[in-house]
C-alpha cells in the first residue's frame, strides 16, 4: 500500500512540464463596454422649434431606452432666466456652454460631442454612435441623505487608457413651465424633462484617467436647491476628451 502511494506521488511529480514565466498567465481582455450615447440639447423657452427637438428625443428614448441619455441645456439667446411672472430654466452654466460651442441657432445638439447636429439629424447620428464600442463602463448612483446628495461614480476600463474629464450633472424631470411652441403660441402648461439644473463637479468636470482592466471610484457631494423637486432629480456622469464623449451613465436620485 505504501509503495502504491509512493508511486503515485512520484508519477505526479514527473508528470508536470516546465512553463516559462511569460506563459504562466494568459491575459483575458475585458468584454467591450456597451455604448451609452449622450445627447446634449441646447434649448430655450423662447425657442419655437425646440419642442420639435424634444419630440425627436422622445422617439429616440422609446427606441433606444437607457442607451441614450438626453440633457436639455437651457441657455443662449432663446433661453429664459425667469422673472416675477414666469419660471425660467436657463442657467449661467447653460449660457456658458452655449457660448463655448458658438452655436448660431436653437435647437441644436451635440451627440457625444462630435460637432453640432441639427435636430433633424439627431436620429441618424445617434444610431451611428451606438454602433461604436466604448472604452470603459460607467455607473453612477446618487443618494439624498439629510438634504445632501451623495454621488458615487464607478468606472471600469475595457480598452486601452482613457484620459479626459469626468463631468457630473444634476437633472430634473417634470417641470411645468412656459414654452413657445412651433405655431408661435405660448404654452404655460408645457412639461420640461431632463433639464440641466447644475453641474456637480465644476463647469467642465475634473481630470480623469483609467486604464484597461482597472476600476476607479469617485465620490462627490452636492447640495440641491430647495426649489427643485427631489423626487424628479437624476444624475448624469460622462467621460469626455478631445475625441468626444467616451461613455455616459445616468441614474435617478434615491431618497433615503
Amino acid at each position: 500500500m505504501k509503495n502504491k502511494y509512493l508511486s503515485l506521488i512520484l508519477l505526479l511529480l514527473t508528470a508536470c512540464s516546465y512553463i516559462g514565466e511569460e506563459e504562466r498567465l494568459i491575459y483575458v481582455k475585458p468584454e467591450p463596454a456597451e455604448r451609452i450615447v449622450l445627447l446634449e440639447d441646447f434649448t430655450g423657452q423662447r425657442c419655437v422649434n425646440c419642442p420639435k427637438g424634444t419630440e425627436v428625443i422622445e422617439q429616440l428614448q422609446q427606441e433606444y431606452g437607457e442607451n441614450i441619455i438626453a440633457v436639455g441645456i437651457h441657455g443662449g439667446p432663446l433661453g429664459f432666466a425667469g422673472n416675477a411672472r414666469y419660471e425660467g430654466l436657463a442657467t449661467d452654466a447653460g449660457n456658458e456652454y452655449f457660448n463655448h460651442w458658438g452655436f448660431d441657432y436653437q435647437p441644436i445638439g451635440l451627440v457625444n460631442r462630435h460637432g453640432a447636429v441639427n435636430y433633424t439629424d439627431w436620429a441618424a447620428t445617434v444610431r451611428e454612435e451606438l454602433s461604436k464600442p466604448a472604452p470603459l463602463n460607467l455607473d453612477v448612483e446618487a443618494l439624498l441623505n439629510e438634504g445632501q446628495i451623495d454621488i458615487t461614480v464607478t468606472a471600469n476600463g475595457t480598452d486601452g487608457v482613457v484620459e479626459g474629464k469626468l463631468q457630473v450633472w444634476l437633472l430634473e424631470d417634470g417641470i411645468t413651465a412656459l414654452q413657445l411652441m412651433p405655431d408661435g403660441t405660448a404654452n404655460t402648461g408645457y412639461v420640461h424633462n431632463h433639464v440641466l439644473r447644475a453641474p456637480v463637479n465644476g463647469l467642465w468636470g475634473e481630470d480623469f484617467t483609467i486604464a484597461e482592466g482597472k476600476q476607479k471610484t469617485i465620490q462627490l457631494t452636492f447640495q440641491p436647491n430647495a426649489a427643485w423637486n427631489t423626487q424628479h432629480l437624476s444624475v448624469v456622469a460622462f467621460v469626455y476628451n478631445n475625441n468626444g464623449v467616451q461613455q455616459a451613465a445616468k441614474n435617478n436620485l434615491v431618497i433615503n
Binding site: 423657452q45 419655437v48 432663446l78 429664459f80 422673472n83 411672472r85 441657432y105 405655431d183 408661435g184
Partner: protein
C-alpha cells in the same frame, strides 16, 4: 373677326395669368402693398420683456404672414436685410419656413424653404434697451415673382429720434397704413387711425 378677337383675349388672359402674383404679405389679416412698411413699437411681450415682435405669441397668425396660392411653383427664397439704427436688444431672431436664425449683429440673412398656405414671418427683438430703431427689409422670391415688405422696430422717444434711410426704392419710404394703403397726409382720418406711438412718415417723426 369675333373669333380672332376671342382668341386674342384668351391668349392675353392666359399670358397675364402666368404673371399673376401667387403670393402676398398680410399683416393682421390685411393685404400689404408690395414695398409697404409695417411699424412695430416696443412693448411688453408674453414673457414680460420689452420687445418688438411681428407675430406676438398671443395670436401669432394675426401678425405678419406670407400667404401663398401656388404650392407647386417651387421653393421660396427669402432674403432679409437688416439696418440697425441703435436698437439695443439681447436677442433678435428670424423664423420663417420652419427654421429660425439668430439675427443679432447680422445685416443680411437668407432662407430657402418649401411653400405653404400661410408662412409666419416671425421676426422679433427681445429685451430692448435704449432708444433707436431697426429696419428690416424682407424680399421673397418664388418662380421669378418677387414681393417686398419693410419691418420697422422702434423704441424711440420724441427727443432722441434718428432719421432712417429706408432700403426700399424711391417712393416706398412713405408710411402705409396697416391695410397697406398709402397714407395721404392731408387725410387726417387715416393718420388718426394709426395706433398711438411714434412713427416716421416720409422721413419725419410723427407722434400719434
Amino acid at each position: 373677326m369675333n373669333k380672332q378677337l376671342l382668341l386674342l383675349t384668351a391668349f392675353l388672359f392666359a399670358s397675364l395669368s402666368a404673371f399673376a402674383q401667387t403670393f402676398e404679405f398680410q399683416y393682421q389679416g390685411a393685404s400689404l402693398q408690395d414695398g409697404a412698411t409695417v411699424t412695430i413699437a416696443a412693448q411688453e411681450n408674453f414673457f414680460g420683456e420689452l420687445s418688438c415682435e411681428t407675430n406676438p405669441s398671443e395670436n401669432p397668425n394675426n401678425g405678419l404672414v406670407l400667404k401663398m396660392q401656388d404650392l407647386s411653383a417651387g421653393n421660396v427664397k427669402a432674403e432679409l436685410q437688416i439696418q440697425n439704427n441703435g436698437l439695443g436688444a439681447s436677442m433678435i431672431q428670424w423664423c420663417m419656413g420652419g427654421a429660425c436664425t439668430m439675427a443679432l449683429n447680422k445685416t443680411s440673412l437668407t432662407k430657402t424653404f418649401a411653400p405653404a398656405d400661410t408662412v409666419q414671418v416671425l421676426f422679433d427683438a427681445t429685451n430692448i434697451k435704449g432708444n433707436g430703431n431697426l429696419l428690416a427689409t424682407l424680399t421673397v422670391t418664388q418662380n421669378g415673382q418677387t414681393r417686398k415688405v419693410g419691418i420697422l422696430f422702434t423704441n424711440e422717444d420724441a427727443t432722441s429720434i434718428k432719421s432712417i434711410s429706408p432700403t426700399l426704392s424711391k417712393g416706398e419710404g412713405a408710411i402705409y397704413d396697416l391695410s397697406g394703403r398709402l397714407v395721404n397726409l392731408s387725410t387726417r382720418q387715416l393718420v388718426n387711425s394709426l395706433k398711438n406711438g411714434l412713427y416716421i412718415i416720409n422721413g419725419k417723426k410723427v407722434i400719434r
